[in-house]
Symmetry: C2
Subunit: 161 residues, 2 copies
DNA sequence: GCTTTTATGCTGCAATGCAACAAAAATATT
DNA sequence: AATATTTTTGTTGCATTGCAGCATAAAAGC
């Protein structure tokens, strides 16, 4: 399921719906793949879904600490690893931070992230022709691309106004 | 000066020449911009130029320690910051590592990195149409791109053979 | 029930990166 | 030249990110 629509979250969207959808999708994915969305994993995902801003691992810990016993770092890292392996969370390399995926694309598809430096929100462009042509350019040099990190920092449409 | 030629370093190229060129270029750049290529800064650049593999900051420290008094981490980080500000070194975000630029492009130009997971070498595609179309795709969503991180992991032409 | 697998907890630590202040060196000014 | 100013380097210490190794608990398979 590769969606091509580029999405930057608008400030006025129904984020409750947005987050609920993502949780439902996560449950679906785990069912399908015979994986377990345990309480901790779900809590980490929910923490990340509280906004469209990427959170550092220790920010996630702080958020969880508000509602339950403060988890050890390794606990959160393990949950993040699980969520990433199942395509539910992305790592933003240029920020050492983690972002809940608001789309329903499979784990392997190529994604470009748009990071707004004013509001901190992150949008995704999934499997667009631009990301494709990038891979093609690499291939033309004889390089066999496998995994891409594409992170574009700038200002989102809303923050320019 | 934006070169379009995509380059992945071949295993048989004259790397001595390659590194000497880069040093000469660095001296030129610093002269032009009235910046000082001090001994430490030069030594850090030379360490990075010892290969086309990105080095972690602490790997740089280890290399320098072989020839002079072991520098403190902050010393190396400051030199790296200087070299990056002047477009002589790139940071590879997905590796927390630093790469000497083997091209002569200005600091602001858009670059895509090709990272071979077998030999560790990194090539650069400078200001190609693919990177351009990526920015365009972002702009089409109303996003104003400013700085891009494009890092493609895979296997280089030589390592496939 | 018992075994095997999977997930969590706990302790400790490695790797990356930088802040704050002091000393030294280079540049500019009188 | 002597002094003031700016730039660079040294030193100490610490914050942040991330994970290894082993023990315990829970779940799944037999
Ligand atoms: Zn939302
Ligand atoms: Zn996504
Ligand atoms: Zn070379
Ligand atoms: Zn470069």
């Amino acid at each position: 399921m590769t969606m091509t629509r580029p999405v930057f979250p608008t400030p006025d969207h129904d984020h409750g719906r947005c987050a609920a959808d993502a949780i439902a999708h996560a449950e679906q994915v785990c069912r399908n793949r015979a994986q377990k969305l345990t309480p901790i994993r779900r809590a980490v995902l929910e923490a990340l879904l509280s906004s469209h801003r990427p959170l550092g691992a220790y920010e996630v810990i702080d958020q969880l600490a508000a509602e339950r016993a403060r988890p050890a770092p390794i606990t959160v890292y393990r949950a993040l690893e699980f969520l990433m392996a199942n395509g539910l969370v992305h790592r933003i390399e240029s920020r050492n931070a983690y972002l809940a995926c608001a789309h329903h694309h499979d784990a392997a598809s190529m994604v470009a992230f748009l990071i707004c430096e004013r509001c901190g929100s992150v949008g995704e462009i999934v499997a667009g022709p631009a990301t494709q042509s990038l891979n093609d350019a690499a291939r033309r040099t004889g390089f066999a691309p496998k995994l891409s990190v594409v992170e574009i920092t700038g200002t989102c449409a809303h923050c320019q106004a």
